[in-house]
């Protein structure tokens, strides 16, 4: 790694001051992506601001119909939280399958969402529920947050404080994980609230996206069989050593059906 300085602020105000607006000063959350990236010199920075000592960024609570999760809450905490398991069990299940246990002991929801890896799990949950992303500056709806590969609406110096997830009537997530990295080759999150259905695909394209044909079919009939005649155009999908775009397109529908099955099973 190239040399950098490290700061450990104890409050959001101090963290924001330490970050300033310089592009080479980066916030450090769980570090499960950022540190390997720095080690491989895929990125570099002049300074890191470690957010792990900021208590305001942690915690899980239910405020009416909204599940609130602090940005520095670790995957293992979301996976094992009784509050999350009761309010949005599919979200706890998603967190329990990110990476491996040692990664889940460090990795955070805020870090995952801010990084917006095209194959990450959490962005699918945030987008499918249209969660609100509360930063030190503003509140951003998920629909306006994910811009593209590793790109979000966050500006330099802006950090995520917490997420506000509206609790759906039912929701389910299914992913086909790469056997090596456990990242999704294709993952689909479906959620139904009243008559509204949203379906989000991760892992298959350059960023998470809503699959509107899947949503329309499931709005008519929220059953796996409703997707028998649905396909997703894979022409813009990723192709790599693990899976080509046609295979990812096929996987996305298979995962969508499994996600519906999971949603129905969790709601019973």
């Amino acid at each position: 790694m190239k040399a950098f300085s490290l700061q450990k602020p104890a409050s959001v105000a101090d963290a924001v001051a330490a970050l300033g607006s310089a592009e080479d000063v980066l916030p450090l959350a769980g570090g499960m992506t950022l540190i390997p990236t720095l080690k491989q010199r895929l990125s570099e920075c002049a300074a890191l601001v470690d957010l792990s000592d900021v208590p305001e960024l942690r915690g899980i609570s239910l405020e009416g119909d909204v599940l609130v999760i602090g940005a520095m809450t670790r995957h293992t905490e979301v996976a094992n939280s009784d509050v999350v398991r009761k309010a949005i069990p599919s979200l706890a299940a998603l967190a329990s399958r990110i990476g491996d246990q040692q990664v889940r002991n460090r990795g955070t929801i805020g870090g995952s969402v801010a990084n917006n890896d095209p194959a990450a799990d959490y962005p699918a949950a945030v987008l499918v529920l249209n969660a609100e992303i509360v930063t030190n500056v503003r509140t951003i709806p998920a629909d306006a947050f994910f811009i593209g590969m590793f790109e979000t609406a966050l500006e330099p110096g802006e950090i995520i404080l917490r997420f506000r997830f509206p609790v759906p009537d039912m929701a389910g997530y299914a992913k086909f994980a790469s056997p090596a990295s456990r990242y999704a080759l294709a993952g689909v999150f479906v959620a139904r609230t009243g008559d509204s259905v949203r379906a989000v695909v991760t892992g298959a394209a350059s960023s998470v996206f809503r699959a509107t044909d899947v949503e329309n079919a499931l709005a008519r009939d929220f059953q796996p069989g409703a997707l028998d005649r649905i396909s997703i155009d894979p022409s813009e999908f990723l192709s790599d050593i693990h899976a080509d775009k046609d295979y990812r397109g096929h996987l996305a529908i298979v995962m969508a059906k499994r996600a519906v099955q999971t949603a129905l099973a969790l709601a019973e």
Partner: protein, 163 residues
């Protein structure tokens, strides 16, 4: 930067570069080479240590981040050569290691598991050790060792209750 932390029950104060990894600090500066570095990309799990009692990959942890925290490495498990941790005994007795390179990480991950789940099923052990790779592929005996180690720890804690 100067950091102070607890390492295997002893307080350590050391001057480090902010970009130092905990795996480098342990091996190069403190000469505790029981923690192994295999892939150095947080996939293989040979470098697993305990941070505040939880298993983490020390090759993906900055030394500056452990200031004020509590660390335990494989060196901190045994009381002495004749006083191995029950999980170490179980690995020895069940042939849970071949070349031994992955063993420190396997031990640290397994002990974190049984601390949280004293009676894990084989499936739970396999899932928990997903991030620990054994390139000798000795997984059968590793899983057997963890289940035996969990049993030994349960027996020992029952013994304590009667004492």
């Amino acid at each position: 930067m100067t950091i102070t932390f607890t390492l295997n029950d002893r307080s350590v104060t050391v001057d480090v570069e902010p970009s130092t990894l905990v795996s480098e600090l342990l091996r190069d500066t403190l000469e505790l080479t029981g923690t192994h570095v295999g892939c150095d990309t947080s996939q293989c799990g040979a470098c697993v240590i305990h941070l505040n009692g939880e298993s983490v990959k020390s090759c993906t942890l900055l030394a500056g981040s452990v200031d004020g925290q509590e660390l335990r490495t494989v060196e901190g498990l045994a009381g002495g050569t004749d006083d191995l941790h029950p999980m170490q005994v179980a690995f020895r007795d069940n042939h849970g290691l071949q070349c031994g390179f992955c063993t420190p990480g396997m031990l640290m991950s397994s002990i974190d598991l049984v601390n949280r789940n004293p009676d894990p099923t084989e499936e739970e052990v396999r899932e928990w050790l997903e991030g620990n790779i054994c390139r000798c592929t000795g997984y059968q005996n590793i899983v057997k060792s963890v289940i035996a180690g969990a049993q030994a720890l349960r027996d020992a804690s029952r013994g304590d209750d009667h004492a």
